[in-house]
């Protein structure tokens, strides 16, 4: 393996510092006593005061609960629809509508969010005029919008996993008399399960974090967490938002480390199984 030169390694360090300096400063100042987020009050810090403020703020808690419910629904529905789309693109060969499906699962990833949000709201308004549903906007219209933009991400992840392994396993099972349903349940699904899980987590994160599309389709009554945070920080800094950010960074870090360890052991077990199978055959 040829190692990278000094220049690229230096740039990597610079880039990582650039990525992490703001996050570190968010974390540090979440323990600051002063209301002025950027002036360190050495006499009374570190303190957990802003975590208390955050966790007793009813508006934030309510918004977080709404965001969690929407993200759970959006990620789950998008995983089902995205898996179907990924399977169609990777396994069905040429079919009528393939180009359409490919376009509709690629475009949302790069589409500026203001355009997607505007388009979805206009759809809801036109539907309400035509058939009387949805009656105004709220959690349901937010969830439908989130499912729609999350499908594309799940599709990409599942499709690339399916393209990565060949169809001979599925064909062998078919030759041995397994029905399509059995092949899917016993062969395809276990193989793409990690990709579906990764797609689900990606969709959950994107739904949980979305502000721009949500603002268009939320209506006056329902506020998700990003909407509440945005209205708080729009006119300056707010230390309880630092506390919220710290909790989220902590959660994501723990999640990533746990999933990395899990993947590592899975890989190790798979290697052992392969070795054992080779030994048994010899």
């Amino acid at each position: 393996m040829r190692s990278a030169g000094y220049f690229s390694r230096t740039m990597l360090v610079v880039g990582l510092l650039f990525l992490y300096a703001p996050i570190l400063s968010l974390i540090v100042f979440s323990f600051n006593n002063s209301r002025l987020v950027t002036v360190w009050d050495a006499a009374h810090s570190p303190t957990l005061k802003w975590y208390g403020v955050l966790l007793t703020n009813g508006q934030i808690l309510e918004a977080a609960w709404l965001s969690i419910r929407i993200a759970l629904i959006a990620a789950t529905a998008a995983s089902v629809l995205g898996t179907l789309a990924g399977m169609a693109l990777a396994r069905l060969g040429a079919f009528r509508g393939r180009g359409l499906l490919l376009g509709m699962t690629t475009a949302p990833i790069v589409m500026p969010e203001v355009i997607t949000g505007l388009a979805l709201l206009l759809l809801y308004v036109a539907l309400e005029q035509a058939i009387g549903w949805p009656h105004g906007t709220g959690p349901v219209t937010i969830a439908l919008a989130h499912i729609t933009f999350c499908i594309a991400y799940v599709t990409v992840v599942v499709q690339s996993r399916l393209v990565g392994f060949d169809e001979s396993l599925e064909e062998a099972a078919m030759d041995l008399g397994a029905s399509p349903a059995t092949v899917f349940r016993r062969i395809t699904l276990p193989l793409i399960a990690p990709a579906i899980l990764a797609g689900w987590m990606l969709a959950f994160t994107l739904s949980w974090d979305d502000l721009v599309i949500t603002q268009f389709v939320a209506g006056p009554g329902s506020s998700t967490l990003p909407m509440v945070v945005f209205s708080k920080v729009r006119f300056g800094v707010s230390p309880d938002v630092n506390a919220l950010a710290t909790l989220m960074v902590l959660l994501v870090s723990v999640g990533m480390v746990v999933s990395a360890i899990f993947m590592h052991y899975r890989e190790r077990r798979r290697e052992r199984d392969v070795q054992r199978a080779a030994a048994a055959n010899a």
Partner: protein
């Protein structure tokens, strides 16, 4: 595989996602297009119907006034030009910073590589909004950067960093850097390193090896990364709202203001259509064309192997 699933099953597997995305992604754009030819009206919803019944016959009422207005008021052209400029320069900076980062990750040992990749992914998994918010605390006049500069005696008055072009560039480069690094890494990791060794054996110097071998092979990665940064950055709303100038809006903010503040839905729709026609569609078509070309190249490259 074609025979693996029954025709009914095939129709369901492809049909369900196509139906969903047509209803909630494709048709909405047609409604935006329709509305962009409508007229604003003080009503709920605030636009005039496109078809008016005259003697029982629906007559279309197409207005081009929204588009002529976009052309006559310089606000829109200026916002669009500014957005393209910000997005283009941010994409270039992301590329200049992200390419060496991706290169260093792709050429490090496997254990270190997964740790480094995780470090690049982690900010991407944490909230976009909160990461942009972090820069307010760093850049404000009594923020961390100014405090450090003042304490070191490098400046005597706080620098105006927030709500400038500088802060917009910082915010966009910062938010979109992982989108550049990841596709570049995916590309660089697949390169065949024996080519570089062969070139070195034949006496090519490092710079030549890079420009003649590594760089041409990474064009698909550069294209994918630039696409993932440039198009969303043109329509970016959060970064300019929190860090940007108040005297020069970006086009995403203009669209949103027309919609929410002025309640002029037809103009907002016309802005969306202009963005789509001028920016998104040409770039996506270009990318599609390029991908088809690359796919055919890959097929050609694989043929001798399959024959042997």
């Amino acid at each position: 595989m074609a025979q693996l699933v029954s025709p009914a099953g095939r129709r369901l597997v492809a049909g369900i996602p196509i139906a969903w995305l047509s209803a909630l992604f494709l048709i909405p754009f047609l409604i935006v297009l329709k509305l962009s030819f409508s007229e604003v009206r003080l009503a709920i919803p605030p636009y005039a119907p496109l078809f008016v019944l005259r003697h029982g016959v629906p007559v279309p009422q197409l207005h081009l006034s929204n588009y002529t207005f976009l052309l006559t008021d310089p606000l829109y052209a200026r916002a669009l030009a500014y957005s393209v400029q910000v997005a283009a320069l941010s994409t270039i900076v992301c590329l200049l910073l992200g390419y060496p980062m991706a290169y260093a990750i792709a050429r490090s040992s496997p254990t270190r590589r997964s740790v480094l990749l995780m470090l690049v992914m982690l900010p991407f998994w944490t909230s976009f909004l909160l990461r942009v918010y972090a820069w307010i605390g760093l850049l404000k006049s009594d923020g961390v950067i100014n405090n450090v500069l003042l304490a070191l005696g490098l400046v005597h008055q706080p620098l105006a960093l927030l709500q400038t072009d500088f802060s917009v560039y910082i915010g966009i480069v910062y938010s979109y850097l992982p989108f550049m690094v990841l596709p570049l890494y995916a590309n660089l990791e697949k390169h065949d390193l024996t080519l570089l060794e062969a070139a070195a054996d034949l006496g090519a110097r490092p710079v030549t090896r890079f420009t003649r071998i590594t760089l041409p092979q990474s064009v698909p990665g550069i294209a994918a990364g630039s696409l993932l940064v440039f198009i969303p950055a043109v329509g970016e709303y959060i970064v300019p709202s929190l860090l940007g100038r108040t005297d020069q809006l970006m086009i995403g903010r203009v669209l949103s203001d027309e919609f929410f503040e002025n309640r002029d839905w037809p103009i907002a729709s016309a802005v969306a259509i202009v963005m789509l026609v001028l920016l998104v569609a040409p770039i996506l078509l270009l990318q599609r064309f390029e991908r088809r070309e690359l796919a055919s190249q890959e097929l050609l490259a694989q043929q001798p192997e399959a024959g042997s």
